[in-house]
Assembly symmetry: C2
Homo-oligomer: 100 residues x 2
């Protein structure tokens, strides 16, 4: 499996409408077949300085992850939603081997 | 479930020995009972600017995650290994509900 973890901070001044549109568009990404598993959530607010949002996404391999990026749903998600809602963004990608 | 995702960059100048000690100490954390699931990996290097390391850790709840932090193995991991190996560190914590 190839895992991509993305952590974001909201853009400065992102409105609650912009954030909600982002969440809705993000959920739509589940329908992209290459995305085998997705868990995401917003920071619980226990500690100051945490980022706002994290997504853990699993694909078969790096090639699948690249096809996901090219999918029209992902392209419009980036263009119409992430571009407005997301400020800082950090990523790690790695292969992993589920134990079961 | 309560998830904690931690993303790190290696400290500037961290030697390969320091990094390996960090990896070994990190693997030891699996034996802390509150840590129900752990998947971690190092960035595959496909894209410049990615962080170096990510860990996805699952606990029953926030209280369990706090007990994990207090565990002697975690305390020595922070004091003796993370303090030398880790530069930048970003975190998101959120509740989630496994679908199966």
């Amino acid at each position: 499996m190839f895992r991509q973890v993305v952590m974001c901070r909201w853009a400065d001044g992102a409105s609650s409408e912009v954030k909600q549109s982002f969440r809705d568009a993000f959920e739509q990404l589940r329908s992209i077949p290459e995305l085998l598993d997705l868990t995401w959530g917003e920071d619980a607010g226990h500690f100051e300085g945490n980022f706002d949002f994290v997504a853990v996404m699993d694909f078969d391999d790096f090639a699948s992850a690249r096809r996901y990026v090219e999918h029209p749903l992902h392209q419009s998600y980036v263009r119409d939603h992430a571009s407005q809602a997301v400020g800082e963004r950090v990523v790690v990608q790695h292969d992993w081997f589920p134990s079961k």
